[in-house]
């Protein structure tokens, strides 16, 4: 018999049996207790590998190009934050860098670092620490919001000049549902048990 707790109201329950793909909710506050995915490590590892490739593409190529009277400018994620730095807006630049580049990169990289060894059954140092950081970076990773930002910026520029979507924009479009699926399929409790050598 295993005791688990509700993250939101601190109620303590005996871990119920939940069929694969199901979820358990707290009876007191209605919060999600956990989702059970017995193949969570395999599925998430596959999704995170895909996400890593798409993230690289999204960072290396421009996501929008802007053409006006024969002049073209284009922007990647990094050049966007650099443009803010050039205008002296260091705080805003740091915020954009943190939420669109650093946090997703850490989330993807650390998940690879954790899920790879757990799946293939070898040990790397600091697995627990790495997985702790995954949970800590998640609220600051805001790529899906950035995608809406691209759409709004595109609309605002559309009547001023010609807007050309770049490869990175398509990579973004794929990356966001894949990252969402990965965090949805991640049964963190099972990963913690594997890291602790319990299961």
């Amino acid at each position: 018999m295993r005791i688990i707790g509700c993250r939101e109201c601190d109620a303590v329950v005996v871990e119920p049996f939940v069929p694969d793909g199901g979820a358990a909710y707290c009876d007191r506050c209605g919060g999600l207790l956990f989702r059970r995915h017995s193949r969570t490590i395999e599925v998430c590892l596959a999704l995170v590998v895909a996400a890593a490739i798409l993230f690289a593409v999204a960072n290396l190529y421009p996501f929008l190009a802007f053409q006006m009277q024969g002049q073209t400018t284009q922007t990647t994620l990094l050049s966007g934050t650099r443009a803010l730095l050039d205008q002296g807006e260091n705080a805003v630049a740091a915020l954009v860098f943190l939420t669109v580049i650093a946090s997703p990169a850490c989330e993807i990289g650390l998940l690879l670092y954790v899920l790879g060894p757990v799946h293939f059954g070898f040990r790397l140092p600091g697995l627990a620490l790495a997985f702790r950081f995954v949970e800590q970076f998640r609220p600051w990773s805001m790529m899906e919001v950035f995608l809406i930002g691209i759409l709004v910026a595109g609309v605002k520029l559309a009547d001023l000049a010609e807007i050309v979507p770049g490869i990175a924009l398509y990579a973004f479009g794929l990356l966001i549902p894949i990252l969402a699926a990965a965090s949805n399929f991640l049964d963190a409790e099972l990963v913690w048990r594997r890291i602790a050598g319990e299961a």
Partner: protein
Amino acid sequence: MRFSPLVGGPHAQCPVCRLVMKAPAERSEAPLACPRCGATVHRRKPESLARTSAYLIAALICYVPANVYPIMRSTSLGRAQEDTIVSGVVYLYESGMWPLGTIVLIASVVVPIAKIVSLGGLVVSVRRRSRWRPRDRAATFRIIELVGRWSMVDVYVVTILVALVHLGTLANVEVLFGAVFFAAVVVLTILAAESFDPRLIWDVLEEEEGRDVRI
């Protein structure tokens, strides 16, 4: 499926890996170390209400200049125009993009203030040891956590415009003061939500139920 809780017992829950462990005493505030993941475990987030209130007050102060001051200046062929958050929304509606306009209106104007007011309400309700509709208050907090991030849209829009439109006198976009305050509002409200401990909503009910189940 829903499962009933075994309320009570001096226990603490790891904020990171969610391992439930015994706490030395019911009201203990001494931090523990999680035996599974090594994180520091507090039974409740330390100084939760004071921190949340402080972030909320700071966010409220920044909310005013964030909306009053322009967030960017666009220059096109010598014609300069300064945009506030609200005028950006108006522009989207006027160009017939009402779905995007509505998203930005909700994300940039409604969400920050709704978040400050409702989180402030939660803090007051916990301070007053309210027993009023705890499930609905818990649901409110869940929504606050979920929607807060979407306020970043306008910060990203300005970033992208600045990165793309720098053609000198032909067309240029500059970030203005208001954007810094707006970004501050978003970050402060996210920090406020992270500092709030939703378990406090339930503590007052648990005291009166007085049930105690040992782990």
